[in-house]
Symmetry: C3
Subunit: 668 residues, 3 copies
């Protein structure tokens, strides 16, 4: 288990460094991230490198047994570079070029910037490749942050042309796929193709989607530039990048994760209202990107904020977030940041220590966890998360819904989260994976609004269902082809065979619009129950599917809203509408039964339980996110790793914001 902090020695006097390192050691740290915002200090003038200060900092830390993750500093270039090369600044969608003064100002396509980026990466790699304390690299920092996911500069426009040529080969094909006959947009020359600037109004959906893909690919290529250098010079170091959890949807994270050794991410629970499910979905999304353990490269350690200061973590919260991360598969956790900066835009983004460097409450809590991790580290080492349920997350679909929400109250992410939250509430482990990924070992697969469906995806899903899987699909699925055109067949398009229904009509509901559902499957516990629905109603014509629920209002009262179809050995549920949390609780209960998935343990709201497995041995994490003592009744016998009681079983009490790590023991 790696445990440590993000540290900026360049912002403090050298005299302070040993004291910081001592405090870190006392806190049980074994890893520190350095240098990802220190380009100015490492290359103070063009081509002149200065690493001795960093060598010294690494020495001081290394002497106290800390390993180093180095960040390549390209997220924030030095003034000398940008003022000499103003074309490296990215251009916003409104055509305005950004200026110096913050970070992430650069265009990832820009040739000059790529040249300088390669050079500093190369220089760092050369210098540190044999430093025994260095174990790995973080490339750049939070790609896409601060609305930087897409640049609209002339170099990007040129590169986009190339990208389109590669995709469509001929202009004729591009015109056909984008449907440029609409509004007389037929292109005669590649150079006529505009970018989807805000100054051109609502764009052609095909153009808009391709530009998002291109922009995402620009960062892939930019990352690869650094990957190639680091792989060559530092073959024994790991490579990672710090991602931004579930909600960030500006870049294709599945592709971005591909060339890395593992995924890291930056976890700020107080920016998510400290909602356990929202933090959990982010962890699970990050774990799913490479289907493996991940790091939290920045874990909240105090109030966050730029112009404004956020709330302060309550006593116990920092510890709780560390264990929640581990419970969901984290293998390394670093706090952002060691000490609060006295300067700069993030002056109020608080570290473990305050501006004055005095260890106070938050340091003591971090230190307590450090001590605990030393104690239990060995006992949880090598364990992994496992899930019988998968949810399919598609960045292509996220891009498509950014361009066209379909309904102003619809959000791909929020809708996705409704399904996740219902499962999380029942303490069901969930993997969040790509629609192209292997699904064979799941009992239940949920694919909310699978909008763009390719032949590859349909084959994958059919294979899964044929072999006995239970697949859930929803409204607005199968609507689009890869060029973001609506399919030329009845909805749900390519999903028609699987679902055995046709969407005869749909009704996109206005802001205050509601309809209702009534479950009509005899024998089902919820038979006859009525639940409100909203946002969207597909009016379904079954073509072989069984009706699960019907609408209760409007001219389509009585028409099917949810259906179930047998396909091969498996089954497909189509959910034609959206509801509030209650619908998803109801559905989750039914679907889990249908799929034969066991929940871990039912527990009071706010008591999160999750597992890691050491081979077939269960590690149970019990996390009390509430401010009250909670009670849970265990099945089986466990040893309590944190508190050292030999064996616990039956009723168990867990203190407010406390954590239990239990290891299942063989019976009697």
């Amino acid at each position: 288990m790696y445990y440590g902090a993000d540290y900026y020695p360049e912002q403090w006097l050298e005299e302070r460094w040993p004291l910081d390192a001592d405090l870190m050691q006392e806190a049980g740290f074994n890893v520190v991230r350095l240098a990802e915002f220190a380009w100015s200090k490492m290359e103070p003038r063009e081509g002149y490198y200065e690493f001795s200060w960093l060598d010294k900092a690494i020495d001081i830390l290394g002497e106290r047994s800390m390993k180093i993750v180095l960040g390549t500093p390209t997220a924030s270039p030095p003034p000398w570079l940008m003022s000499a090369h103003p074309d490296t600044f990215r251009v916003r969608a409104d055509g305005v070029r950004v200026t110096f003064g913050n970070r992430r100002e650069y265009c990832p396509t820009n040739k000059t910037y790529r040249h300088y980026s390669a050079r500093i990466t190369h220089a760092m790699a050369e210098h540190f490749k044999d430093n025994p304390n260095v174990i790995g690299w973080q490339i750049d920092n939070e790609f896409g942050c601060h609305d930087s996911a897409a640049c609209f500069c002339p170099q990007c426009q040129e590169a986009f042309k190339g990208w389109l040529k590669e995709r469509y080969i001929t202009l004729k094909r591009l015109n056909e796929r984008w449907g440029t006959t609409f509004w007389s947009h037929v292109y005669n020359d590649w150079s006529e193709i505009p970018l989807p600037w805000t100054t051109s109004g609502s764009p052609n959906p095909g153009l808009a989607l391709d530009y998002r893909r291109f922009a995402s690919d620009s960062y892939l290529a930019y990352q690869q530039l650094q990957v190639d250098i680091l792989r060559q010079l530092c073959p024994h170091h790991f490579l990672t990048h710090n991602f931004m959890g579930f909600t960030y949807d500006g870049l294709n994270y599945h592709a971005l994760a591909e060339p890395l050794d593992f995924v890291s991410w930056d976890n700020y629970p107080l920016m998510m209202n400290a909602d356990p499910a929202r933090i959990a979905i982010a962890h699970d999304t990050m774990r799913g990107l490479k289907r493996s353990g991940f790091w939290v490269m920045e874990e909240q350690s105090g109030p966050h904020g730029w112009e404004n200061v956020g709330p302060t973590p309550r006593p116990g919260e920092i510890r709780l977030w560390v264990y929640q991360a581990i419970a969901h598969g984290a293998e390394g956790i670093l706090f952002f940041r060691w000490r609060t900066s006295r300067f700069g835009t993030e002056q109020y983004w608080h570290g473990i220590l305050d501006h004055d460097g005095i260890p106070r409450r938050r340091y003591q809590e971090v230190k307590r966890v450090g001590e605990e991790l030393k104690r239990i580290g060995e006992m949880i080492a090598g364990s992994r998360c496992r899930a019988e349920v998968a949810m399919l997350l598609s960045y292509d679909d996220r891009f498509a819904f950014q361009i066209q929400s379909n309904n102003s109250r619809f959000s791909y992410s929020d809708h996705f989260q409704l399904y996740y939250e219902a499962l999380h509430r029942l303490n069901v482990p969930v993997d969040i994976v790509s629609p192209q990924g292997d699904l064979s070992h799941y009992k239940l697969v949920i694919a909310p609004t699978l909008h763009i469906v390719t032949e590859e995806i349909i084959s994958n899903l059919q294979r899964y269902v044929k072999q006995g899987g239970l697949l859930v699909i929803t409204f607005r699925s199968g609507v689009k082809d890869e060029a973001n055109a609506v399919v030329n067949r009845a909805l749900p398009g390519l999903l028609a065979d699987l679902s055995a229904i046709e969407v005869a009509e749909y009704d996109s509901l206005p802001a205050e619009g509601r309809n209702g559902l009534e479950f009509v499957i005899p024998g089902l516990a919820i038979m006859g129950q009525k639940i409100s629905c909203e946002v969207w109603c597909d009016i379904i014509e079954p073509k072989g599917a069984e009706v699960v629920a019907r609408y209760t209002e409007e001219y389509y009262a009585g028409k099917p809203a949810i259906t179930l179809n047998r396909f091969g050995q498996g089954q497909v549920v189509y959910v034609g509408t959206m509801g509030d949390g209650r619908l998803y609780e109801t559905l989750a209960g039914w679907l889990l039964t249908l799929a034969g998935v066991q929940t871990i343990l039912t527990a009071p709201k706010g008591l999160e339980m999750t597992e890691r497995w050491q081979g077939n041995r269960r590690l149970l994490f019990v996390l009390n996110h509430t401010e009250r003592e909670q009670e849970v009744t265990l099945e089986g016998r466990y040893s309590d790793l944190l508190y050292g009681s030999a064996v616990v079983e039956g009723r168990l009490f867990i203190a407010p914001r406390d954590v239990l790590v239990l290891r299942e023991e063989k019976k009697g």
Copy 2:
């Protein structure tokens, strides 16, 4: 009666065309609009024309008895044109030039764009002038849409100078009329005159109003360019343009309608919350532009939407909207669009057919109407609307209030609509006409906030009242001269003689401000009734007028709020404040009695009744906009044209969303 759809054969495979045409024929269509967004297809390269595909489409349609309205395609130029001539893109008020990717990107003043527009119009006219299936032309498409009413490019700035010289002759006169001594804005040279860019803050009201007039005139001139070509080459074809109803106020529609044969407009009831009165006011406004029958060139046929999908029309709504249009004077109705586009910005703007081209519920409804119209078409042919009440709509005033709202809660359109709605609720036919138009045949004329009053207008109004008319004017009337300066005399300025009052003070009410009215005319049914008022209170000093109502609150409690004056043979009511709907119901009842206007029939809310006249024979349209059966008691005997019952009289029941077309029959 023309009945049909807007069709885009260029967006579908030729193989499909005959099937579409068959389906149209089965639906009873006799007209199709084509080509208004097909410039790319008709002039694929500069100067190279390709009309054979369109000839073929017209042939296929013509063979099935459909007539063709051709659109000139200038609302959406092809990429080759715009990328070769970037100066043709219009410039927004913030100085930013728009870019390619949507439509309406062009500046109507731009010489290059006018050159290309004239050429494609000429080429089309030459090619189609003798095609026997072509009956008329729609020029361009929705002038002013997408905030394109005003361009701020250098060519416009130059043209504005010319426009001003023509209007003011000398700079001295311009300086005087605009009052440029204020804030030291005296112009020494025409070239110093800026445009009212947003970057200059709140402009001089004179400059701002003249720029709106100039911008509107630019579109007039641009339209005339095409009118001249088409009149010359196609003297037997009609010319029209598709306007945007009542709410659109960016261009002077009275002037724009002038050179056309008739007005068309685009009716999307679901963008107006399907409110019958809001649809009705739009029809009446359009009919009033040329005081004659009009077409609905785009009638909603499914959910509308760009990024988001609107609600779907309820069963019966499409049919209801068709008959409402006819009831208000429509002589042609085309649905937008035949089939939903699979591509482009309007991918979710649904046609009669869905993306997949399968006829479903909406097609069946359209077809039913087609059958009905065949049956009753002859019987209603040649009939016209008639009204005894007129409302005066001034685009100059709309421009002025856009520049200065006077009160943040005041809207010219909303206030205008309050009067209209009260009359509509009572089923009183209303003409909406220009303040300069002939008023002699009206019994009641309402002129809400007649802000800019010229000698021409005052003569027209005085002539009308002298001859016995009843005129209603309101607060903020007579305030401005033609240069948007406040008149140099007590308010209501030039209207003082007609109203015989002076506005001693006014109180512009804050957001939550309310006052009250009490009616004080003895004998009036509502004598003593109190009604809340808001937004604006003129404190009136009668100079001969009789007091109708007095304020009940504030330091001006007891002061007159509404007055009545006898002038010549007629009367003038001055309404010094604004209320909610209740005030206008009360006023409408009183005014109709005072003017001796009969309502058609009192009917439950949501049951709209209106008339067309064949000579002296009444056609009564009964439209049930509600979801419940409604009852109404007829006076006289009618034949039921739609349902074919020989004669109906007395109590009548009308099904939810159903329509009756009744023809009055001579008694016994």
Copy 3:
């Protein structure tokens, strides 16, 4: 007492001028402001001056005993100047250069504009220096208005470099003080330093604060240019500028007031909801800038408004505002404006006369006051305001909080006002002065959120407290050094010695966050009382201070929230949180007792009482801001100056919106 109006003869026919002057004379006017927006008329062409019209206007006014204040016209340059020199237009923070059409378009740093400004000032001064009717000058008009406080043009960027060089001498020092190691912003050359454009995102706080200071200094320098010319040519004339009250915080008003003879300001009560305390705080702020009497150069005389018209002053309000101004120290009051302009952006900013020039209700009220002032002028002449309580207002702190609010619900001004309002409610006179000013004669000094604390400030405060003063400081005090970096020591930083506390933690509360306070000082009347608090909670560790109140909620329930420390002969209260009005009422009562400050008289809400002193003789102003009659019981005997009753004492009734001016008389 000066009493008059702002007059624009250039906007009206010369024939009208004598009538206006007569009406002014009848209204009791003795002063008129002229020409501050008449550059176009005075220099109609470059270098050609035309003052004869103004001479004539001055003659006509002078003949009727009116003195003249001339405005230099530089707030609104003529078109010929700006169109010849487009580089003189200022540039907004988003990089867009403003355009012509309003006012305040210029950059104060621009060399060309400074040249033309100096020339017109010089020409006016030369021409009018010996005119016996001219008594003084207003320089420019409302510096900073319309968001013009900062320009971002290339000349400003260049000037900022110079300003920084002067402040920091070396780049190394600048880099250290701004902390440019953060995010790799280390500058190698002065030319690399950007401006804090919006296009660069959230800036470095050091850079941002220095730019606000620089921008403020630009106006100081620009004003000084005119001051120097006028002082040289017109040594016997006074110089002033019209400031914008308490809420305006774009420029450092303490510095801007420095070279002037007295401060003027523009008082529009209806833009402050006619709230007596908000008007009062503005008067007191203006009086405090030079700690002397001031003028109201623009006093509201009718509805205000540009696009929209504001509410009309109620009968009695204009008179009330005049006396309130005098009660707070005004020595001159001019109404804006004499007659409502028929033209221009301010067409709806109403003067005493309406557009039509007819004297109505507002003129009669103004005239009544004129008559009264003639009667009592002598009796109040030479009197001055006095206060035992001071509040410390820092423009540096205002700038800092504009850059970083600290909490989205925190506003420096609103928080400041909460303290003021509690004192105002108790009728306690307050001076509002700079933290650097002499505090020796105050019994109580309140310094809300004294954010940036310098050695100079700390010495001043310590000197004050040591000598027996009572000082109140609050949360977010002592946080920053002069470079806007957080201090490198425990909070409240340099204020630690005075307060004898340490801020162990702070909790910035979310939008709906609340905590509570309980007062715990035995013997205090409010002992045990609980009050809600919000926005921010400092969790205090006393280092010698006594606990006054403790928090009641959250994990820091029981921790100190308010403390009291003895320091030298004096005391320091630290208030660690923010509450609603109730907290400040409670605190005010306690603090006044602690400081031994007497309130004037307790009075019903809305009855404002304040004093001026003629030596040791008290003038008592009783202002009834309510619409009801109010009662108050006097201590002592007074003569009633306005209503002429010989002597009043004991219970006194005051009519709605009425005013009493009472002079204390020696006892029987």
